[in-house]
Amino acid sequence: MARGLTTDVKIKPSGLGGGMRGPNGGDGPDETGSEGPKNWPPGYSRDDAIEPVKYRIGMWVGLASILMLFVSLTSAYIVRQTSGLSDDSDSGRWISIKMPWELWLSTGVLLASSGTFELARRALRRNVYSRFNLLISVTTLLGVAFLGGQVMAWRHLAAQGIYLASNPHSSFFYLLTSLHAIHLIGGLVALICLTVFALRLRIGSRQRNAVEITALYWHFMDGLWIYLFLLLFFWR
């Protein structure tokens, strides 16, 4: 390429050129620092500098779409629960299933896991590795225990003869809990990877970043579960 490699790089933006700039770009002329971490030194790799921010934005955006999935299922749930079809005999009425007691267990376990994860995160910030290792392992185990609790709850209902298609409430129960579980498994995979890294003492900046992002996801899954739990059994 004929283009010079470094000569094109402008370290400092030049002053404003009045009318040359045009009103399109006229606002906040070169205040590049105002919109993000943009004041890195010349030649300094952007990819590395903005990685944590980029993953955090990505995670928030991803969470928005997951939220939207559950919001739309909630609207379906409410429509299905309250729809008074004028022509349908009451055979299609909403019959609430009795909550399997195991759900209290899994709810407690998941809340605890969020707590231990938070403690682990703080330990890592203070660079107390031994404490971090312990707590992240406990979090992972609690995550597995939550899934175990969900499976027990499903088996409990199945033992009573309540299946997916038994009635509208059971359909939504199985659907929402399993969709939540699928999403949670994603977080669990990340947790397992982090635990392995931690136990092999391989926590670098990438892993620290991953801990932050996974914690965000995990807390979201926790909150989502509480929401679903309330929606399914306490909302009328």
Binding site: G22, N24, L85, D87, D88, S89
Partner: protein, 277 residues
């Protein structure tokens, strides 16, 4: 190139206007309902607004490309817009569009937010793949009870009248919709299987018929005659063939027919279908 392009947009505008203004062959079927005139009028009002906007935009686009082709090495006008101009056209469009939108609700409200008048002729409609069934109360003017468990196509009980209900003894089920002229009609519509849509082009009526729902529409036909009823919501492979007839009868013909028993009713119905062909 710019000149040709400009001419094409003008031609497009003129051609479209001619297609929409200059002929009667390709147009709405004639309206034969009391409320249809208001819909048609609202359509025409909108057509005028839309027509002006359409012609205006196409001709302006045509003029711009005709006029502003590259002229030597001169520079284009350097401007980033005009806030005032933009405000003006935004407010004008908003006012026009909202005015149209509000006007457009009137007929709708009249049709859907009001009950059918007292003494309206009542017919129940039961749609199924690929047939329209019309359920008449018969001589006693009382509908028999209907329930899905009594649906039986093999015994021609298409609408599921309860055989044990005395009110249902004289009920008539037919595949033609028969109603008197100049009297309000209320249809209560149900579907047995999938979504259908009752379309009465000449009555300016269309309504989806949804399983699980009983949907009511009311209208007043103003002209005797035989009209077609197509299905307007995709309901399966024979959707295109799910066709029936609407017979709007004179008051005499109708009251004569309304008291007839099943066999006679259908014979007379056949005659009338032929008569109004």
């Amino acid at each position: 190139m710019g000149k040709a392009l400009g001419l094409m947009f003008v031609l497009l505008a003129v051609g479209t206007v001619l297609l929409f203004m200059g002929q009667n062959t390709w147009w709405f079927p004639p309206n034969h309902s009391a409320h249809g005139g208001a819909i048609d009028a609202q359509f025409m009002r909108t057509l005028v607004v839309v027509g002006i906007a359409f012609v205006g935009a196409q001709v302006a686009l045509g003029y711009a490309v005709f006029r502003f082709g590259r002229r030597g090495d001169a520079r284009a006008v350097y401007t980033h817009g005009s806030t005032r101009l933009e405000l003006v056209w935004t407010l004008i469009t908003a006012a026009i569009f909202i005015a149209i939108a509000v006007l457009g609700q009137k007929v709708w409200a009249q049709l859907h937010l009001s009950q059918a008048p007292e003494g309206a002729v009542k017919v129940n409609v039961v749609a199924q793949q690929f047939q329209w069934n019309f359920h008449y109360a018969g001589a006693d003017n009382e509908f028999g009870k209907t329930e899905p468990r009594f649906y039986d196509d093999s015994t021609l009980n298409f609408v599921g009248v309860d055989p044990g209900d005395p009110n249902g003894r004289d009920d008539i089920q037919a595949t033609t919709l028969l109603i008197p002229v100049n009297r309000p009609v209320e249809l209560t519509m149900r579907s047995k299987d999938v979504i259908h849509s009752l379309f009465l082009p000449h009555m300016r009526i269309k309504q989806d018929v949804v399983p699980g729902l009983a949907i009511r529409v009311h209208f007043t036909p103003t002209q005797v005659g035989r009209y077609e009823i197509p299905c307007a919501e995709l309901c399966g492979n024979n959707h295109f063939n799910m066709k029936s007839f609407l017979l709007v009868l004179t008051e005499d013909e109708y009251s004569d027919l309304a008291t007839k028993a099943d066999e006679e009713f259908k014979t007379r119905m056949g005659e009338l279908l032929q008569q109004y062909k």
